[in-house]
């Protein structure tokens, strides 16, 4: 069967029409209904003028209606552009402009953030009450007899996912139908996801990892249970009641699940149905692994690693987790991971090089950005005619062939499951009238991955009271981007004669104030001691 999610869904809807595909607190939807309502949504979109290849933003909370909006865009032969619902005006504006967005599907709670786009975009609601104001997809699709006019091939554009880089604004990663379909098959293969599975979905559908849960569900005919994790006891109750068998998480979610302040007692629940827990988006600490093992003694724990440009690169065999807890494992099926030095040669064991990814999950490049595409999506003389992803991440391989992550090549801050660009934080911090300059960086905090930290200088040379500055920043930035740590500097050190801010010295001085060792920088070709 040609590789695309719309074709996979049509197939599963025929094979398992009445089986529950998605269960949410409000509604359960079968595969047949999921398929027909997605096709009806597509027809609504076509009626509203959405054409093949148009970019359609989806800025919604996680609901079955959000899944229908995503699938509707795909069936309409258009391109899905997820927009994190917590983003504020300027961040959304960048995505709208950069993608050349034709329409946006949102929900009632988002209207204030997106109202400014109503003159330039076709705005519609994908969830919630009907108003006289905007077209409402759940209402409109009731009057439509669904037809399937999906006609894309595997190479065609399916989605653009915006992801922050260390410099500049977020870049749109262009994903083909084939990438989504093969991502479903590959992940289901190594995790062993099957028709009997009941996946607990605490992830959001604004990122590749969360969306992949929808794709696996559609491909395998299993059932997806939507849950917004806020209080862990609610999640545990759902898992026990629904006999959840698969739980994809991230380190920040594990921290939340076992927050000691919330007096969780996972041993009082029956989790005997849970077969696997998988995690990506940051390293699993020893405490996280032991919390997972204590709570879910029967579950296999998969530690995984990757970047959106190639979706997923590696996973660690659960049987090797205890012996190699810091390893990111080996390449996922149908993909290969190379560790290359600056000459493009494979590094010997225990020598740090750049992670370079080849295979089915390599995406098409950055939307509307040939310069950055050329930097990351490159060929290699050994593989003529092929595009590989040069991740910039520093890794090494041990004698056994297991991979270990050392450092990012860039300065991205990974916090609470988000990738935050220092530039985006700094841009908002320096809007404060008393602030002259700002440098944002990461400070290790195992509970959330990294904390966003920011050093600043002022016109008066005096610090701004922290509550005042924090209050200001909370108005400007989504919560996860508000710096947890603020450092006032009388002045910033400057590099040599270039007159640039000496970012690494600033970072080091801030770490000294915290009494932490300053972060080491890994260089290509540097040998590491004992893996």
């Amino acid at each position: 069967m040609p590789a695309s999610i719309p074709r996979y869904l049509a197939d599963t809807a025929q094979r398992l029409p009445d089986k529950a595909a998605i269960v949410s607190p409000a509604r359960t939807i079968s595969f047949a209904t999921l398929c027909s309502e997605a096709m009806a949504t597509a027809e609504c979109l076509r009626e509203m003028g959405i054409r093949t290849g148009d970019r359609v933003g989806i800025c919604m909370e996680k609901t079955i209606d959000q899944v229908l909006a995503i699938l509707g865009v795909l069936y309409a032969n258009a391109v899905v552009v997820p927009i994190l619902p917590r983003l504020k005006g300027p961040n959304i504006r960048h995505i709208v402009d950069n993608s050349g967005m034709a329409a946006m599907v949102t929900d009632a709670e988002r209207m204030n953030e997106v109202a400014e786009f109503r003159d330039t975009l076709r705005l519609m609601t994908g969830h919630g009450a009907i108003s006289t104001d905007l077209p409402n997809l759940p209402y409109l699709r009731r009057f439509i007899r669904p037809r399937n006019f999906f006609n894309r091939i595997g190479n065609d554009n399916a989605a653009i996912i915006y992801s922050s880089g260390s410099t500049g604004r977020p870049k749109g990663i262009l994903i083909a139908h084939r990438n989504l379909a093969e991502g479903a098959d590959i992940v289901a293969e190594y995790l062993g996801t099957c028709e009997d599975d009941r996946i607990g979905c605490v992830l959001s559908f604004n990122f590749d990892y969360g969306m992949n849960q929808i794709w696996q569900t559609i491909r395998k005919g299993c059932t997806l249970y939507l849950h917004d994790l806020a209080l862990p006891n609610d999640l545990f109750a759902l898992m026990a009641k629904e006999r959840i068998s698969a739980l994809p998480v991230m380190p920040v979610i594990i921290t939340k699940m076992f927050d000691r302040r919330l007096k969780v007692s996972p041993t009082s629940f029956d989790f005997s149905a849970l077969r696997y827990v998988c995690s990506t988006g940051g390293r699993l600490s020893a405490d996280m692994i032991s919390d997972l093992r204590n709570a879910f003694p029967r579950a296999r724990i998969f530690s995984m690693f990757g970047l959106t440009e190639a979706f997923r690169s590696t996973y660690l065999d659960p049987d090797k987790l205890d012996a190699h807890p810091t390893s990111v494992g080996k390449a996922i099926p149908d993909c290969q991971v190379l560790v290359l030095d600056e000459q493009g040669e494979e590094c010997p064991p225990n020598v740090v090089g750049e992670l370079v990814h080849r295979g089915a999950t390599v995406t098409k490049g950055y939307w509307n950005d040939t310069l950055n595409t050329a930097k990351v999506f490159r060929s290699h003389p050994r593989y003529p005619g092929e595009t590989l992803v040069y991740s910039g991440d520093r890794v090494y391989r041990d004698e056994e062939g297991l991979l270990y992550f050392v450092a990012r090549g860039d300065e991205m801050i990974k916090t609470k499951g988000f990738r935050v660009s220092p530039t985006e934080v700094e841009t908002e911090v320096i809007r404060h009238p008393d602030i002259v300059d700002a440098v944002a960086f990461a400070v290790q905090n195992i509970a959330v991955g990294e904390d966003v930290a920011c050093a600043y200088t002022t016109t008066t040379g005096k610090p701004i009271p922290e509550p005042v500055l924090r209050q200001f920043l909370k108005m400007q930035l989504p919560n996860h981007m508000v710096p947890a740590l603020l450092f006032h500097f009388e002045s910033f050190p400057i590099t040599g004669n270039a007159g640039k801010l000496d970012r690494s010295s600033i970072k080091q001085l801030a770490h000294e104030r915290l009494g932490l060792a300053s972060p080491s920088t890994a260089e290509t070709g540097r040998a590491v001691s004992a893996g």
């Binding site: 917590r86 927050d259 007692s265």
Partner: protein, 83 residues
């Protein structure tokens, strides 16, 4: 209810920077006023500020996401403290 409610509203406004409406029966997670991080901070603050202790079964969304139910929980735990 007035005192507890006002104290909690003041805390949420300071913590989130939210200046819009805050109805006592609104689900503050659904409306996006609170996220999964600061709802936990709110629960911790409420215990400390009102000198009560919540039990594991109290710390669920149905008790904490609406101010009216949180105020009820505070009062219940004040009258019947965990032994």
């Amino acid at each position: 209810m007035a005192t507890e409610l006002q104290v909690l509203i003041d805390y949420i406004r300071a913590e989130t920077g939210h200046s819009g409406a805050l109805g006592e029966d609104d689900d503050l997670l659904a409306t996006g006023v609170l996220d999964s991080f600061n709802i936990v901070s709110l629960a911790m603050y409420a215990q400390e500020r009102f000198g009560v202790e919540f039990e594991a079964e109290d710390l669920v969304r149905s008790n904490l996401a609406r101010l009216s139910s949180l105020v009820n929980l505070i009062r219940t735990r004040r009258e019947a403290p965990i032994s």
